[in-house]
Amino acid sequence: MMNQVEAIFLKATSFITGEEFWRGVVAIIVFFIFWEVGSRSEAWSGFAFPWISQVPPPTAVLLEMFKLIQEPSFWHSAYLSTLRVFEGFIAAMIVGIPLGLAMAVSRVFYGITFPVFEVLRPIPPLAWVPASIIFWPTQELSIAFVTFLGAFFTIVINVIGGARAIDVRYFQAARSMGSSTWDIFRRIILPGTLPSIVVGATVGVGITWAVVVAAEMISGGGSAGSMGGAAGGGLGFFIWNSYVGGSYTQIVAGMISIGIAGYISSAAIRKLGDLLTPWLAEG
């Protein structure tokens, strides 16, 4: 245990003293200086950098974020978006994994479902927003449905690809050693597809964040506000509201929050994936 801590510590120190780390730090600092100078230069010297001069400076955004994290309504928005992301994402996993496996395993089932799947797949999830508002009884369900679509197609495609890429030798070996069809599904196809499922889920959850925010903006997640007050809309609506209200620092602060939330979600799923596929760990 102690050794492990020590090893992590050593790894961390060697990383921090490494050239690569400092190159990254310098790059980020230069980026922020450029941004700060760019957005303030008009006030300082009268020269307006194109585009950047419209963006609030990072110090103002940071200040805004500091204020926001003390407001419960901001956390409520973040909570609502997270909830929708995970509703849609988990539904996409529950439907997508079995569907992908069935499509990979059965030629007949594949022949029936794939053409329909391939017609629906290129339709951007956001194009589903109006239809989904009409189809689903509540605003909440229609947003969750669009979120679901964002992750669904990626997961299915990854599962099919992963299951098909399993080497035929594994099937032959298992069959020689007396495995039944069910054994082969459970002990070869399922674990053999798991790495692709993890990849699909990691990519899928990222898409889900992109989709939920847009869906909240378009469908006016805030119309739920008639019931739940201004806090009804999620981060997408929060950004939209800031835009309508003309608070540019809030817009950028909202954007950054989404970036952080998306990063945390992907990292969490990657971590979970590592635990599920220990044989892929680099020894």
Binding site: A173, A174, S176, M177, G192, L280
Partner: protein
């Protein structure tokens, strides 16, 4: 060659041992009839029980097709294959059923990467229901210990070298108590030093278990070193060109390689193998 000695030695083992394979007039065509490519052309030879038979031929000559037919992975177009007195495939049933009596050790290895080594080794008996889980793990443990693999039981196949991986795979195969082991160029990807270690390890396993071995390779030295019998194949279509009984006494070790007898076998066969290699090379050129 003093081939006179070989039969008496063989008779002794044939009586006690199982796992003899008889291939009779086997033909395999790929593709549509008529336009198909002939891979195996009226192949007839025996794999004596309790011995090592090595099939030598250029890469892609069709020898793996034959192995797949014995294992039950692919069908024959005609002909028949017997395991002891049981017909594996033949007229009316051109594809054999895969089964634990014939276990393949694959060219690139087929240990399940998602299972630890010991889980891999214990897999067969559990699948067949021939042992309880705890019995299977107990036996797996002792067999791995015998093969000097105790230390890597709980590692994953991806964490060990390819030479060790092959050894684990052979132990996994033996766990099924097969009548015959089918080895498809198992040492192809290994460097020659590792290979020599693997050869001696394989012989050691063979002396201990006396399981019949059907071994495919394109390496003539390997074939003569390991085999009781060496079958040199013609290149596509594949057919036995020359069958030799290697009467160098077992147990063998690496000192055999420098003996006159070994060299004599090499001389006797290398011209035949080289001729086929050239044919295979020319055929390959044309295809491209």
């Amino acid at each position: 060659m003093e081939t006179g000695n070989a039969p008496s030695q063989r008779d002794r083992s044939t009586i006690a041992r199982k796992g003899g394979v008889r291939i009779i007039d086997a033909v395999k065509m790929y593709g549509a009839q008529g336009a198909g490519v002939l891979a195996v052309d009226h192949c007839t030879f025996d794999v004596p029980a309790g011995e090592i038979t090595v099939v030598v031929g250029p890469s892609g000559c069709g020898k793996t097709t034959l192995l797949n037919a014995i294992a039950g992975f692919h069908s024959l177009s005609s002909g028949s294959i017997y395991l002891d007195d049981e017909m594996l495939c033949g007229p009316g049933k051109l594809k054999a059923e895969p089964g634990p009596d014939r276990i393949v050790v694959f060219q690139n290895g087929a240990l399940f990467p998602w299972k630890t080594n010991i889980d891999n080794v214990a897999f067969g008996p559990i699948m067949q229901g021939s042992m309880s889980r705890s019995e299977a793990y107990e036996k797996a443990q002792s067999m791995m210990a015998d093969a000097g693999l105790r230390g890597i039981a709980d590692s994953y196949p991806g964490e060990i070298s390819s030479g060790v991986r092959r050894r684990v795979e052979i132990v996994r195969a033996l766990m099924n108590d097969p009548k015959i082991l089918l080895l498809d160029e198992p040492y192809r990807a290994l460097d020659s030093l590792t290979k020599s270690v693997m050869h001696e390890a394989l012989l050691e396993i063979f002396y201990k278990n006396r399981v019949t071995i059907f071994f495919i390779t394109h390496d003539l030295e390997e074939a003569i070193f390991l085999g009781h019998r060496v079958v040199i194949m013609t290149t596509r279509p594949c057919r036995p060109k020359k069958i030799l009984d290697i009467d160098i006494p077992h147990p063998r070790d690496y000192s055999v390689l420098t003996t006159k007898r070994f060299r004599a076998f090499m001389e006797e066969t290398s011209a035949a193998v080289h001729e086929e290699a050239i044919k295979a090379f020319d055929a390959g050129e044309k295809e491209r």
